[in-house]
């Protein structure tokens, strides 16, 4: 077990390094990065001075080495636009994103657990159809449009909920729904097929033969086992949520990391974008790592 942990950890570090290399060389692939934000009126000497000041005149691997040695100490350089250290910019928004993603995941679970179970238990009948239709809709709606639709219904037509920023608990409602909607679709489908398999198994038949009440059979015994594939999926979903978060954070003006990435895209602020993407990638890799290890704990059959 310990060997597994260490090997997974090493793999995670390597993946992270790979990502940082890819990012770094990608941004230097299309000419000198300084050209993205140098004003047009700048003279060639000014441009040269800026290049030298930012260290862009050194060979690429030297630049990368500087980047990495600073990065492990938490120094991700300065944002080109804001002239502030990138790390402080990211840190300020980091927790907001985590809060929103967690709320969305919680919401998705609250919807998909009952819905998926009901769909499996009443297969082919009313709840099944409802659940599958909702799942289909959730997978066919783009996150940004869901957000805009929600804004239109709840803020324009019925003026009940705030739609920008992250002031109070009320601000959480619409973005959480928008973000969690797509995730709940996938979770419902997964839980349904998982439950269908579990409900067919031997020990469930035994539980029924023992005379246990159907509700205990389903909700206590079947559900617990059906949740196992969901755990790995949730780890994977965490990354997906962070991706969908960009659209949601932009639409709702949520002060999170995803919106920071978007702003970096718009202003072509490459160092800032690199920092955000790196932090993001670490979170995803970390989450997958945790899920991998947790899987060994939850499912005793693979521990051997």
């Amino acid at each position: 077990m310990g060997v597994l942990v260490v090997s997974r950890l090493i793999q995670a570090v390597f993946t992270l390094l790979g990502v940082s290399i890819a990012l770094f060389f990608l941004s230097h692939a299309s000419g000198n990065p300084v050209d993205a934000f140098v004003p047009i009126e700048a003279s060639p000497e000014d441009r040269e001075r800026l290049i030298h000041h930012l260290g862009f005149d050194k060979p690429v691997y030297v630049q990368y080495w500087r980047f990495i040695t600073h990065a492990v100490r938490g120094d991700f350089g300065e944002s080109l636009r804001n002239k502030q250290p990138n790390m402080s910019l990211v840190k300020a928004r980091f927790w907001n994103s985590i809060k929103l993603a967690s709320a969305a995941l919680l919401w998705a679970l609250c919807i998909s657990l009952p819905l998926g179970t009901l769909a499996a238990v009443h297969r082919g009948r009313f709840w099944d159809r409802v659940a599958m239709t909702l799942a289909l809709f959730g997978q066919s709606l783009p996150a940004f449009f869901t957000g805009i639709l929600l804004i239109y219904i709840f803020a324009v037509v019925f003026n009940v909920l705030p739609v920008q920023g992250a002031g109070s608990w009320k601000h959480y409602i619409l973005p959480t729904i928008a973000l969690g909607w797509g995730v709940s679709a996938a979770l419902t489908r997964l839980l349904r097929s998982s439950m269908l398999e579990v409900l067919d198994s031997e020990y469930i038949k035994l539980a029924r033969a023992k005379g246990l009440r159907e509700s205990i059979v389903v909700w206590k015994h079947a559900l617990r086992n059906a949740l196992i594939p969901l755990v790995t999926f949730i780890g994977f979903t965490w990354g997906v949520i962070m991706g969908g978060a960009i659209a949601t954070e932009v639409v709702f003006g949520w002060p999170g990391m995803a919106r920071l990435a978007y702003e970096a895209v718009v202003t072509r602020d490459t160092p800032l974008l690199q920092s955000v993407v790196l932090v993001w990638a670490s979170i995803i890799i970390g989450a997958n790592l945790v899920v991998d290890l947790l899987y060994g704990v939850i499912d005793p059959t693979i521990r051997a």
């Binding site: 993946t15 790979g18 990012l23 990608l26 941004s27 692939a29 299309s30 289909l136 809709f137 997978q139 066919s140 709606l141 783009p142 996150a143 940004f144 449009f145 805009i148 639709l149 804004i151 239109y152 324009v156 097929s193 994977f236 990354g239 997906v240 962070m242 991706g243 969908g244 960009i246 659209a247 932009v250 639409v251 990435a261 978007y262 970096a264 895209v265 718009v266 072509r268 490459t270 974008l273 993407v277 993001w280 990638a281 995803i284 890799i285 997958n288």
Partner: protein
């Protein structure tokens, strides 16, 4: 001597019967979208990029203040929404056609190779596939768009890059299961080259799964392309894309809701139809593919 005549159902009857089984509404929507995509330039009521500032934020025809000429209204620069939606269909379908074809081709090739040869190339390739599947697509697409500048080919390249992994994984799994069958071993014994075995014996059996996955991925590609355009990292102006139309209408949602609503509904309807069609295809061709 009478030989019993072989009764064979003529092909046009067979095709008609097969077509009748298709799910009606999704097929209509998908066919309409493809038709509009192909003939967009002939079908648009107005030139999609023509600016008429005096018609700015014109309401759609069925609301007061609207006129029939601009049946779905106009945007901030007075461009006709319906024409832009039709042109946007063409753009989306082009992105879909190119990237799904490329992604499926590359993914299938890699999956066949990995599955058939096994060993360390298999392990290595599948590790890459796993890593790729773990990353949020938007992030990667954004980085590409920023560093290489947004354009049609950058969008296609990024989507293809993200698309090949599911195909590779599917094809590899299928190849592994077909590889052990008797007819493959017989072919080997008969002296067929590996390439011939892969192409002539394994690939035709994997074909159905590839088609189902491709249809199911179309919806995803449209959503990703839409999100990229919404964030400004997709195909740049003045080409109308559904995503950028939604983005344009965002600030004016109170006064001119049609600017965002109609392209959004278009995305939803088309993606839904492709998903339904893909589900139907999967159930028809091979219900064992349900885990897709």
């Amino acid at each position: 001597m009478a030989i019993a005549a072989q009764v064979s159902i003529p092909i046009h009857v067979r095709t008609f019967r097969a077509l009748r089984k298709l799910p009606s509404i999704p097929t209509v929507i998908v066919s309409l979208t493809i038709f509009l995509a192909v003939f967009a330039n002939l079908v648009v009521p107005h030139p999609p990029t023509q600016i008429h500032l005096e018609k700015s934020r014109q309401a759609p025809a069925f609301i007061e203040g609207g006129e029939v000429k601009y049946i779905l209204g106009a945007d901030r620069l007075g461009r006709d929404i319906l024409s832009r939606i039709i042109k946007g269909a063409q753009v989306s379908m082009m992105v879909v056609a190119v990237s799904v074809t490329l992604g499926a081709a590359v993914g299938t090739a890699i999956g066949l190779t990995a599955g058939f040869h096994g060993g360390w190339p298999d392990a290595f390739l599948m590790r890459i596939v796993d890593a790729m599947l773990a990353f949020p697509a938007i992030l990667i697409a954004l980085v590409f768009a920023v560093t290489l500048g947004p354009s049609f080919w950058v969008v296609v390249a990024v989507i293809t890059l993200l698309l090949w992994a599911p195909f590779a994984r599917l094809v590899r799994g299928q190849t592994l299961s077909w590889k052990g069958r008797d007819f493959v071993n017989l072919a080997k014994v008969a002296g067929c080259s590996n390439l011939r075995i892969i192409l002539v014996h394994i690939l035709p059996n994997v074909r159905d799964s590839i088609v189902v996955l491709a249809t199911l991925q179309v919806g995803w590609v449209i959503l990703i392309e839409g999100t990229l355009s919404f964030l400004g990292a997709g195909i740049p102006a003045p080409t109308p894309t559904w995503g950028s139309m939604v983005a344009d209408g965002r600030e004016l949602i109170r006064s001119a809701w049609w600017m965002s609503m109609f392209p959004g509904v278009a995305i939803f309807a088309v993606v839904l139809s492709f998903n339904l069609l893909g589900d139907w295809l999967r159930d028809t061709l091979d219900p064992r593919l349900r885990q897709l």
